[in-house]
């Protein structure tokens, strides 16, 4: 317990219950080494259902055309642009936890930073999906917005377009977040690998 008027501030104990490092490692690796629980399956089923609904909506849009949304010639951008900003916001929360708390040397973040960074990455993926789905031809937009070398002459993307810089910003954000996450994960992956019994599992980790 920290004191409010004491001489010094004492850190809160991060791991209660007097666990050893080995026990902590056991606890952390357990979900990877055992069958998921019943409640996990229920949660997974709900998530899968939501995903299916989302994918059906996507498929419906792609099959019929963007006109199934309530957009018009004057209101050409709809709620998917709002969703984009929303998910970027969610992603920023993860970054806040992992990066800002790191800069302030808040060690307690270590307990949640993997989850937070994972959240960032998946939030950014979600965020990218929305404007992609919002284009008229997402199957082309998915890669035509990137300045890749091609055999169509000097065909580049328009560097003056703010939207292109959105693509760059978000993809950079995604890359950095992924790297950041992965670097933090290296020791964890190592311990999982070392504990792995099955050779295939070992190879994967």
């Amino acid at each position: 317990m920290s004191t409010t008027n004491g001489v010094h501030l004492e850190r809160e104990i991060l791991v209660t219950g007097g666990k050893t490092y080995a026990e902590v490692t056991d606890d952390i690796c357990r979900p990877l080494e055992s069958m998921p629980t019943k409640s996990w399956f229920i949660a997974f089923a709900i998530a899968l259902l939501l995903l299916t609904i989302g994918l059906s909506a996507w498929a419906w849009t792609i099959w019929n055309g963007l006109g199934v949304w309530g957009l018009t010639n004057t209101n050409a951008w709809g709620s998917d642009i709002i969703n984009f900003v929303f998910w970027i916001g969610i992603g920023h929360a993860g970054t806040l936890i992992s990066a800002v708390l790191y800069l302030f040397r808040q060690d307690w973040r270590t307990g949640i930073n993997r989850a937070a960074e994972a959240m960032t990455i998946f939030a950014v993926i979600c965020a990218l999906m929305y404007p992609l789905g919002h284009t008229g031809r997402p199957w082309l937009a998915a890669y035509w917005l990137l300045p890749y070398p091609n055999n169509m002459g000097p065909l580049w993307v328009n560097f003056r377009s703010p939207l292109l810089w959105d693509v760059f910003a978000v993809s950079t954000y995604f890359t950095i977040s992924a790297v950041f996450w992965f670097i933090g994960l290296i020791p964890d992956l190592a311990s999982v690998r070392d504990r792995a019994v099955h050779p295939i599992r070992r190879a994967i980790y």
Partner: protein, 1019 residues
Amino acid sequence: MSNKFWMTVEQAKNPEEFAKTIPGEFTSTPVREGHENEGLERRDFMKIMGASALMASLAGCTRRPIQKIVPYVTNPEEIIPGQPNFYASADPLTGYGLLIKTREGRPIKVDGNTDHPMNKGSLHARAQAMIHDLYDPDRLRAPKVGGADTEWAEFDKQVKAALAASKGATWILTGTVLSPTLQRVIDKSGYRHVMLDSISMDDVLDGQAQSYGSRVFPRYRFDRADCIVSIDADFLGNWGSTAEYTKQFADKRRLSGNKMSMSKLIAFESAFQVTGQNSDERHAIHPNDQLFVALGLAHEVARLAGRSTEELSAFAPAAITQRTGISADVFTATAKELVKNRGRSLVVASARGANGAALQNVVNFMNSALDNEGETVDGAAYPSHQYQGSFKEFEKLLTAIRSGGVKTLIIQGVNPAYLFAESSGVKETLQKVPNLIYSGFYADETAALAKFVAAESHSFEAWGDVNPQRDIYSIVQPTILPLWKTKSLLEMLVGWNTAEGKESEGGYGAVVETWKGLHAKHGGGHAFQDWWDDTLMGGLLNGSSSSARDAKASARGFQNEGMRTAIAAAKSAVRAGAGELALVLVPSVAMGDGFQSNNALLQELPDPISKNTWGNYLAVAPETAQKNNWNDGDIVTVSTANAKAELPLYRQPGLHPGVLVSYVGYGRKFNGRIGNNVGASFANFTASSTMGIQPTLVVNGVSLSKTGKNEPLPCTQGHHTLEGRDIIFETTLDEYRKKPSSGVVHHFEGDKPPSIWSGFEYKGYKWGMAIDLSSCTGCSACVVACSVENNVPAVGKDQVQKGREMHWLRIDRYYVGDVADPEVVFQPMLCQHCDNAPCETVCPVLATTHSDDGLNQMTYNRCVGTKYCANNCPYKVRRFNWFNNNGDMNGSLEHPIPLSKNPEVTLRSRGVMEKCTFCVQRIETGKSEAKMQGRRAGEEIRTACQDACPADAIVFGDVNNPESRVAKLKKENPRGFASLEEMNAAPSITYLSKVRNRPSVAGQKSEGHESPASEHHES
């Protein structure tokens, strides 16, 4: 300045409240494509669920059907693949000269023949859309006997037998026949011929007969008139020969350089028609007061012209004011204007209800008193043949049928079963004819009554000829073989009247025979074949010199009897009851009489004034609507004692408070998948006790009740809010004479704001356009022409309701002044091809770029559909393909629609943006032709809208060529301005300000909505 124009009633009445509504502009909720009640079906949902993952991956593949291209084995003469062929022809309905563009043997575009003395290259919207009638898949494809398809041989055999059995008892009912050949064949056949116009001109014809002794439709000459008074005659919209009149009217009023004069148009209108929209002064009248307005005016004209007013004494302006509520000063001032322009003025009128001939007599009296007869009204030298129908003759036909005197009746070019009220008994009477033969395009209302239904050829598929005015002849030549088993009426009649065993000479033979007669008179000593070839190629036989046509015609003597009848009629004329509503029925610019209602382009053509599409609506003055708590889009039931119709309500500024206005030509019941049941039919309202069989166009004592339903009007303006910026400017002629640039506000010193960049230098061509808002009448021919040229699809009512129409060119309508009596400014709005295009900078994939000749280009292939460009366009001219507008998922359109497409313009797929290209295909063709000839391309490159414009308001060309018309208009014209100049998008289109020929009234009209309701309109 910027707040004086308004677009909706709310905005005019309460700009602050209106401003609050602007941010909340969501127009609809997301629903699927198709009809709202379909929803997502369970089975569809299951399919989607199962296939979603698969489809997401498949969506990346576009399916392209394998097509084999086979070259011509024997190359047809004159056809070079990829090169268009042009054929001169004529429109059998109006007699206008046409120029039909064909590609690989199929007509794809129709324009006016510039050599034709009537339309001089212009065409109205409905004629522009003809090409889509030709390729309509719902057309009759084979003749029918008793409802079953048959072969022509069998059909002809049976008809011939029927005809043989009814010698002397065969009648033929047609629309106005402009074809001398058809007329000759009918005359020769011995059938009794009756003509009936679905948009009737009986009032004019009968009035002419009574006043001058000849039942003719005069040639009106708006190009000679300095002062025009129109009483409900919509000569710029639907009355008479509109494309011809629009051209004359616009030429007379065009201001340029030293020419600082224009004619003055004063309109008295019971509906708000194109003519009133372009008038310098407009007075809303009650339709029952037409005759009184005319008589009041006649009284003043007679007085000021020094004639006796004794007989007219009951119609002194004071008395008329009492009845109509229109100030006496209006009559005196209008008459002064007319008398001042004696011999150079023109009074025209179109009767709504009973007393049509009486009204025309008064009009003829005025024209004669003003010495206009012969000058601006030519009924003697070169009268028009465009209207010859007669209800009296039609009544004779009905009487003959009832008495059993008609064994066989052939009907073509008119649809009586749709035109007349149920209670008129026309249908029952027609059913009594033992052999009813109907020749038409569709299995329509009249076809349902006929034993023999002949599938009729389009005028692009058959030979014919026209003679729309005395001495003007054109040959109608086929540009394609009949698509289906169809024949023209001429071919049928020739065949039926050919003796057994002889081979029919066909339509061609009959036309040639007629023209051999014309050759004798007009051949000028050339061999027939040479003369025929030349005439066929040029598309015109003008039997008189242009100086003879331009000269004054002889004035016919006015006979006073008609005038006396008119005065007697006025004394017993109906008067509207207090608080009673009168329903005024007028043809619309898009639909006319309804003959082309299966044409999606026309159904989706926004009405010039209301901008509503897909169906008619009930227009009512905002004042009346407010009193009764009616709102836009309220579905109302309008009824009389024996008729009822349900349709949406629309508040139309500028209407008389005692009238409801709606359009005829809707509510068809036929096999057309597009036009069937669109809007409501008013046929049953038109039965009148006083007019016999003739439909009345004003229905008194209608009542109106709300159904409680409301649906958004399929309107194309309202979601194009431009937020009251400096979009358009206007001035008056007086102000213009003092200072030609009056009214125009510039935001920058010189052309541009200061910039550190000198701008791109256009070294070769630089395409630009000038649009004269003073000339534009809002007739919308350009909108249709653009859609046909550029394969712009119609998207349907539900999509228009959501604001997804695809028109590359729209005509924005702005009101000025007070709600009860507004003035109108039209502004054709299309891609401005801005030099600093805001759309180009934001496209992430460079799908829209600028060419080095100043075009804002759109690369459909590259577009991924971010829609960022549309968001960034200040003119809101970009159009997104929300669905696949060119067919189903397999990418195919129903046969034969693909034949109507212009092969030079890509069909845009789903998910890409499109917009006006300045007809880049025409520019490129013109450039390469010029290059081959080693010269610079010039005025021969014309955009489709420019070609179509009857008013020549649109001028396109190379701005870098100082000699070009467009460069001159842009550089020298003080009226020129860039729309939204302050945005500094540097548009390539220069608008020329609107000039009205009326005195500027300080603080009244120009201050817009602040002024109180005009006192003239309180009857």
